[in-house]
Symmetry: C2
Subunit: 271 residues, 2 copies
């Protein structure tokens, strides 16, 4: 089934999620279609979270924001329903995970605002196409992610530190990755650090805070990108009473193609 789903469209995958035929992670599905992180907050937090995303665009690149109570992302996936079209959801109250669910009908409210944030799959595919190694793909595990000592720009009551993902590269490869990823500002953009992990507050690369450790081969340096998990840790640590997210790895499939992210039509909303 996975082999067939590699060449499916974003909409195909959404419909399989909607009827609960697909409930697993989405890595490798509908290759070439942009996948998105989902973050849902009550409207009373929506201004602060939108401002947080605007002020921290590397960690939280905004693909779309829905109107309060509206579950349809009309821009990147018209006809989709964010309450049913992802494989799995996590529901948080006061920073604690209180439920995991295949759909949101029991949790949806008229005051909820959904934010879709770009994810690293888009730039990883571009790196692979350029012949650069993506270690956690080679190792068939999750990308390693680390909390750092880099403060995010706060927005109102929202504050916290940046979470980064790490991919080992040779220095020359890291420069090429910087060029490639700069074309994808809506998928976290270029790396923000490389080399000594201690400079950004990471003490032990073999023990990531999220995901799995990966080997670093001789001649390689660790290269760090801002990570969408930042939004979840910030919301949990800042006292937001109610948050819904996708289950990690179980992303939303849009109608956009990776290459669309490099087009002005998408980067610039109306023109």
């Amino acid at each position: 089934m996975i082999e067939q789903l590699r060449s499916a469209s974003g909409r195909d995958i959404r419909l399989l999620c909607r009827d609960k035929t697909w409930t697993a992670p989405t890595a490798g599905l509908a290759l070439g279609y942009v996948q998105a992180n989902l973050v849902i907050v009550p409207q009373v937090w929506a201004f602060e979270f939108l401002l947080f995303c605007y002020r921290n665009p590397r960690a939280c690149p905004l693909l779309e924001v829905t109107e309060p109570g509206c579950p349809e992302p009309r821009r990147c996936a018209p006809g989709a329903d964010l309450r049913t079209d992802l494989p799995r959801y996590c529901i948080f109250q006061n920073g604690q995970l209180v439920a995991e669910s295949l759909e949101l009908h029991d949790f949806w409210r008229d005051d909820l605002v959904a934010f879709l944030l770009g994810c690293s799959f888009s730039f990883e595919r571009a790196l692979l196409r350029a012949g650069l190694p993506v270690r956690h793909v080679e190792c068939q595990c999750n990308v390693p992610m680390y909390k750092t000592n880099i403060p995010c720009e706060p927005a109102g009551r929202l504050h916290g530190s940046l979470v980064v993902s790490m991919r080992p590269l040779k220095p020359r490869q890291a420069l090429e990755a910087c060029q490639i990823c700069s074309r994808f500002p809506l998928a976290h953009g270029p790396p923000l650090h490389w080399g000594d992990p201690a400079e950004i507050g990471i003490l032990d690369l073999t023990r990531p805070d999220f995901g799995d450790p990966v080997p670093i081969y001789p001649g390689e340096v660790p290269v760090f990108w801002a990570c969408g998990v930042t939004s979840q840790t910030v919301l949990q640590e800042s006292g937001v009473d109610f948050v819904i997210t996708h289950k990690p790895g179980h992303m939303f499939l849009t109608d956009w193609r990776d290459e669309d992210l490099a087009r002005s039509q998408v980067n610039c909303y109306s023109f």
Copy 2:
């Protein structure tokens, strides 16, 4: 005095406004420093207006958003006070201009959120440096601005049509202007239309809705850019009860230089 003020800094001009020594338009002052449109709305409208700016970045390119009640734009002008540091302000209630003022102490409230939006001065200076004509500068008048039939992307209750500014150029000059202005997404970016004004709902170029008409010489075509006045017409037409703006032409001077707008540090908030 104007000659001296051409080489002043953004902060110099702000302080002259603060003690009411300067109360006139800011065109031509502190050359090279980024000037900004000011829009202030109550916090109950802040989410919708921030979303409107995010969805209409050509018309409303965000330089900075302040925390509710805070008059200091800490990012682009630390130490500045938005209540005193512009030459003149306009105060609107229910879409009607109710007062014009040299400062805002009688109007400031703890629930007000200030938005600073990029303005065309930055890209006009880049056009002039490239040897391209900027007709209203040659004519020493205001740029002509027109209401169009292009709908903005609505955001909640905020809706309306795009307002554009117009500069006549030869076709080859227009292409060069497109390249140059693409480097300044925070100053309205590239043009969004050229040629037949009727295609975007403009019936008579000699009668602009705002500003002054300018001549179009043989071989030139009208070239249209999204204009920051859009935000003011949208707020007025959408029933926002209380809005403060700069008086047209009486802009806020930041500490940023025009060239900073092409740097990733500024385009991308924290990194």
